[in-house]
């Protein structure tokens, strides 16, 4: 029994570590504002592609196929990029930061209404796009 639990834990850890973790943290600043903080194994996103309704997915992909190719190229290149802040916008009203850190694509937004932090493993994002590309209808 303990062996099975350990095996399960090991497999779960392996799955989580294989593709990394997606982090989403959204904090509304107004009084009573909600706070959502999620950690998701990036593998879930890959699986999500296969779980999405195929007909609707194909319809979207038919329109977005061109953008997927660009996204795939960009993500493949981003995988090679060393840690860096790619875009930063600072003003009295807001602070937006797009960066690559330890293989994660990170977006931080801090404005009058919200604080948002999103971190997505670039490799996992590229895999999702590749999976979507494979599903693009040829005709």
């Amino acid at each position: 029994m303990i062996g099975k639990i350990l095996l399960g834990l090991t497999l779960t850890t392996a799955v989580v570590l294989k593709d990394g973790i997606i982090e989403i943290n959204v904090q509304e600043k107004h009084e009573g504002g909600s706070h959502v903080h999620l950690y998701l194994p990036a593998t879930v996103a890959t699986l999500g592609v296969h779980l999405a309704p195929q007909e609707r997915l194909r319809e979207h992909l038919r329109r977005e196929g061109e953008h997927l190719a660009i996204a795939r190229t960009a993500l493949s290149e981003l995988e090679k990029v060393s840690d860096a802040v790619l875009v930063e916008v600072e003003s009295a009203r807001e602070h937006v930061r797009v960066a690559v850190h330890s293989g994660n694509f990170i977006v931080d937004v801090n404005d009058a209404n919200d604080t948002v932090h999103i971190s997505v493993p670039v490799r996992a994002a590229r895999k999702v796009v590749e999976d979507l590309q494979a599903d693009v209808p040829t005709t």
Binding site: E66, A69, I70, T73, A74, S76, E77, L78, K80, V81, S82, D83, A84, V85, L86, V87, E88, V89, E90, S91, A92, R93
Partner: protein
């Protein structure tokens, strides 16, 4: 000579000999180490040079707004990423790294003609174009194309005297400019220009100063703008 003085002389001589022997020993031991250190330093320098040569080139854009909000924009992009992504886009006016422009003469200034004139000119020679709203001065120096533009069009439109003039300075290696205008009349080959640009280590490319913003575009091997 008294015996005590003789002993002192012998002692001093022995001390001098010992000191000399020690000094020689130190020098003899230090010499190979110094040679080794020099060799290591040379290797490190060579490695650094090699690293710099193979290092990723980054394109940096800094925009500082002068308005009350004090907006600052910083963009840092690896040139290889920009080039690869541009080459993959075929949408609208962008076609695999080539940009189609509607007005190839850019307000009666024929860039290709200017480029052709400057290429054959000696260093320091000027091509000056005086337009209704702008003056353009083009110069060649050490393989670089230097363009200085003073745009007064905003002053005419806004009818304000102070700080309405826009100054633009562009510094581009001639071969990069050549690659940029290597396509058809209504095209800019951005991908080819970026490829050649990436062969340089550090370049100040564009500086724009007007009443609202200061813009600086440059490239180097750093990932940050510090």
């Amino acid at each position: 000579m008294p015996a005590s003085q003789t002993r002192r002389t012998i002692l001093l001589a022995a001390l001098a000999l010992t000191a000399t022997a020690l000094l020689l020993a130190v020098l003899l031991r230090a010499a190979p180490m110094a040679a080794q250190t020099a060799s290591q330093t040379a290797n490190q320098t060579a490695a650094k040079t090699e690293a710099a040569a193979s290092a990723e080139r980054w394109l940096h854009i800094a925009v500082n707004s002068k308005d009350g909000d004090g907006e600052r924009v910083r963009v840092n992009v690896p040139i290889s990423l920009a080039r690869t992504v541009l080459a993959s886009i075929q949408h609208g006016k962008l076609n695999h790294g080539i940009v189609h422009i509607d007005n190839a003469h850019m307000d009666d200034i024929d860039i290709r003609a200017i480029l052709k004139a400057v290429k054959t000119a000696q260093d320091g020679e000027y091509v000056t174009v005086e337009g209704r709203d702008s003056n353009v001065q083009v110069r060649k120096q050490d393989g670089m194309l230097l363009i200085h533009v003073v745009d007064n069009s905003k002053r005419h439109k806004d009818d304000a005297k102070a700080q309405r003039q826009e100054n633009v300075d562009v510094r581009v290696p001639i071969e990069v400019a050549d690659a940029l205008f290597s396509g058809a009349q209504d095209e800019l080959n951005v991908a080819a220009a970026l490829e050649l640009l990436a062969r340089h280590d550090h370049l100040e490319l564009v500086s724009v100063q007007d009443a609202e913003n200061n813009v600086r575009v440059w490239m180097d091997t750093k990932t940050t703008q510090d």
